[in-house]
Amino acid sequence: MTGKLIGTIAHRGAILVYIAFALFPLFWLLKVSVTPNDLLYSEGVRLWPSRSTFDHYHFVIENSAFPTFFKNSLIVASSTAFAVTVFSSLAGYALSRFRFRGKYVIIALMLITQMFPLVMLVAPIFKMLSPLGLTNSLTGLVIVYTAFNVPFATFLMQSFFDGIPKDLEEAAMIDGASRFTAFRQIILPLTLPGIAATLGFVFTAAWSELLFALMLISGNASATFPVGLLTFVSKFSVDFGQMMAAGVMALIPACLFFLLIQRYLVQGLTAGAVKG
């Protein structure tokens, strides 16, 4: 009895320590974002400044290009998440259910694409996109991000489809559904947790991507927010307060997004599909 209690306490304690460790940088972000400039270096290290202010937020929203960055990031991240999810669920379904010629070659190729450090690909991709007019454009970014994320997302979706018994779509097809209808009406609803995971994963990846955003985009008009953050770094100083304020605001969509999908993430809808 007591042994079990101690176990529970130790378990909760360990989780608490981990959460504190993981969230501390976010807390620090928040703290710096509300610290007035004059207190930033003068007060030493303390958990909360003696005086807090929203001036940095005002400045970032009103006087910087941040709203544009924010909007660009939102467009790029959600388009990428959407496109990747569509492609990867179709491809993942095919890998999970069909036998076709060249299947293993395709899987191998998809794995190979995941093996290169992205830096190696910057120059060739720039070379390819620039004659197409896709540098300095959000569309270009969406295409590149989609291409990079589809392989992993496909494997992810495949594993979710593998977890759904084949009997279900066979039953649907016998009930009178075409394969695509069975996919849409029976399999997809059961894969919502997988779709949510894929959407979340790809959205965050695209939202925080810096390398390609930096290399393919010049100028503020199509810059995304990670690139925008760099504008707070000038030659001689870093405006930490403003940078952190921008950072906090950049967290909001990601948080909202996960709030939206978390219901599906934790839902084990397949329970009870077959005999239990």
């Binding site: 039953a171 016998i174 009178g176």
Partner: protein
Amino acid sequence: MASIELHSVGKSYGDHPVLEGVDLNIDDGEFIVLVGPSGCGKSTLLRMIAGLEDITSGTLAIDGQRVNDLKPKDRDIAMVFQSYALYPHMSVAENMSYSLRLRRKSKEVIDAAVGSASQKLGLDPYLARRPKALSGGQRQRVAMGRAIVRKPKAFLFDEPLSNLDARLREQMRAEIKRMHAELGATSVYVTHDQIEAMTLASRIVAMNAGSVQQIGSPLELYDRPANLFVAGFIGSPGMNFLEGRLSQSNGVSEIVLSNGIQVSLGRHVARADGEMVTLGIRPEHVVAASSGTGVEAQVELVEPTGLGVILHLVVHGESFKLFSTDRMLMQAQGAIHVTLPQSRLHVFDKDGVRISEDDV
């Protein structure tokens, strides 16, 4: 309702054949049961009829129409899966009405069909529930309900009762039989269960290693098994097999068993003198006789079954079983006398094929 014809149907995965030359004509309204050991291709055959597996060779026809290349959805056949395969995100009512909704039936038609099916199956209290909130038996009923709402041309069942406990299985078996009598729908039913096969089938198809061994009514398979496989597979406890040599004298054949005992068949068997044959007799046909008749057998083991008793006997090194409902035999020990009635003897040649009574 429909007839189903299979004409030398075969199936292979790559160059690995799993079904060969299956010929089967199922008449409208028949209840066909496929039996056979695990891996013999029963499910594969059923899935080929449903359209879930491609047919490698041969023809499959429904109502005289070749359907080899028809999609499952266009075959108008219902199937009950061993796993039930209920749609977990739909309620019981939605599960049952899915096929009708796909066919864009009106709400009145759907409600009426679901209502009558759920009443028949006693599912009324559960219509709004999700499958995961049902017991195994209730899920099984929903799976049945999903099949019957749409009045398909034929029903396919793949071991539909194997996940239920014995009592429930018995009850559902009777219900399936009653439903078949009522709907008269052509049905193909796969099972491992002897009793299900015997009680439900209008004809049994016994399969082994991808080919059909015998097709016939339950009693035909029981009384006149076509070969050693069917003889051993149908019936429980299984048939006794005793090896021996044929010996012909004066137009009557005898089998000399390897332990030297001679068993007269009381008829002539048209095979060469000295040929190796197998003698078969069901345990329930071995008769415990009063002393002085038959042969003496040592009782090795007594297994009471409630209904009766199974005796494991040995005669000069040959062991075989006896089943009897005579309770006195439960006390049997030491030696008893047994006889093998001639009319109950089955004889199989060296290839395991039945030597027919009319074969003279």
